[in-house]
Amino acid sequence: MEQKKNSKSKILWLLVLLLFIGVAATTVTFTHILNGFLPDDQGAISLQPEDSSSGKGELDDQATEKPSATPQATTPKPNFEASDDQGAWKTNTQVEIFKISYQNGEKGVTIQSDSGYSVIAPGAKNSYTFKFKNTGNAALDYTLEMDATVSPANYSIPLTAKINRYDGTWILGDREQFASIPELDAAEDRATLGAGRYTYYTLDWVWPFEGEDDALDTLLGNAAADQEITFTLWLKTTATQSSDPHADGGISLPDTGDHTNLTFWFVIMVGSLIVMILLFLLDKKDRRDEKAEA
């Protein structure tokens, strides 16, 4: 029994040692990666003399290398993200600009798709807000463009829209006026987003109920009973690193103050779990052995 206990203790220590080696290896790997982001000090002059009793002259002697003519900066790492309240945009992301039903002022549903497919009709309207974030460490220049199409192309839908940016800039239309689909298709915005900053846009659209052309509305509605007449709107954005990395357009992202290295603690947690499982298995085996001996 004593021998068994010693054996168990040795194994345990062996496991702990191996785990320590694993964690150390992980830390070394992380450090190697993080090292790429540390400032390059080559050519820099030390501000602290090696011998603290030395006078000023010795400081000059220690400057054996002239500093580099160009200042060494942090490696820019841009990170641009577009999103709405449902999540981040990826490639060809389907978002909810249109709906399958619409309510009137008294919260009664007055327009309802019969198929679960989004619809538009006189009186329908909606608002869609989306956000651009720069969580990197360098400014980004971005472009926002629209692509609005009606199919079949020979139809004209009297839907109108307006777009404004967080700072009150109207990209399309204005506070009182909506713009037509051709104007929506041509709308675009170009701006710079500073490091750690974000911006947002609000797109409002409406198909006027008391529009100028009831005959057109009726013609479209009747035609829609026999064929699909669709309206598609794409919001396209591209972002490139700004020539001025310190440009500061946009709103500052809030700093949560939590800088904990979660990855490190996650590795520790997983390692602990593995040790717990192994100890449980070993204990189980020992009990089995003891039973066998008995």
């Binding site: 990666i33 990826k90 060809n92 309802q112 798709s113 019969d114 390692g271 192994l278």
Partner: protein
């Protein structure tokens, strides 16, 4: 036994290394490139159909079905029926069993209001005592009417032939205007929206209006009315025009 333990330890370490590797690889996947987002919608269906066919009144009538192509016998006709401006005519013994048909169809994806407005005129001899009886030629005898006399009887049926309303043209007007609805919900099939006169049975969206002026109904009153129409008797209280105009309107509501 020892080998087994070592195998377990080795396996556990392998798992730990794999987990660590996945975490490291995760640090390279943080950068995302936003591209584009969009949505598509189709125009909501309207497709409300209101169609009419047929005529109620004509310039001439036959008292029996047409026997063959050469049968052109006519029992009642307008005196100048070849004249395009001549009025249509009704008389005792005339009827129109084909009448006019109007249909309501469609399943719009929007709420709507349905308005039916009917304008009518009817031939009527008001109730009164002492009308001159012109049937016996002496112009002395009289006859009385206890109620207003409407000689033309209208019948409104559905597509299956079920009678929805019958009687004076005013009764038809009341029934049809009763189909007016301030709000019909979206995705309602108008073909089968309304119920018949029993209050429960759905009628289809087809309505047919016919009429008849029975030949043997009230000869004295019919003769009196005929004389008023011909102008041989003057009686402003006797109405001799008959007409039926229906306007059906469907409007989207918001």
């Amino acid at each position: 036994m020892k080998k087994n333990k070592m195998m377990r330890v080795a396996s556990a370490l392998l798992v730990a290394v794999l987990l660590t590797t996945s975490v490291i690889s995760g640090t390279y996947a943080k950068y995302t490139t936003a591209e584009e987002a969009g949505d598509t919608a189709r125009v909501a269906k309207w497709g409300v159909g209101i169609t009419t066919s047929g005529t109620l009144f004509a310039e001439q009538y036959k008292d029996a079905p047409i026997a063959n192509a050469s049968d052109d016998s006519i029992t009642v006709q307008v005196a100048n029926h070849a004249d395009a401006t001549t009025d249509n005519v009704v008389a005792p013994g005339t009827k129109n069993e084909d009448g006019i048909t109007f249909t309501l169809t469609g399943t719009p994806e929007v709420d709507l209001a349905l308005t039916i407005a009917v304008e009518t005129k009817d031939i009527v001899l008001p109730k009164k005592d002492g009308y001159t009886d012109y049937t016996d030629g002496n112009k002395v005898d009289t006859f009385d009417l206890a109620n207003d006399y409407h000689p033309v009887v209208f019948t409104l049926t559905n597509g299956a032939g079920g009678t929805l309303a019958t009687g004076t043209i005013e009764a038809i007007k009341t029934y049809l205007e009763g189909l007016t609805r301030a709000k019909i919900d979206s995705n309602t099939n108008l073909d089968t929206y309304f119920v018949g006169t029993d209050g429960t049975t759905k009628t289809d969206g087809t309505y047919k209006l016919t009429w008849e002026w029975a030949f043997e109904q009230n000869n004295k009153a019919d003769t009196y009315i005929g004389n008023v129409i011909a102008g041989t008797v003057t009686d402003a209280t006797c109405k001799t025009d008959i007409s039926f105009d229906i306007t059906i309107t469907a409007d989207q509501i918001n």
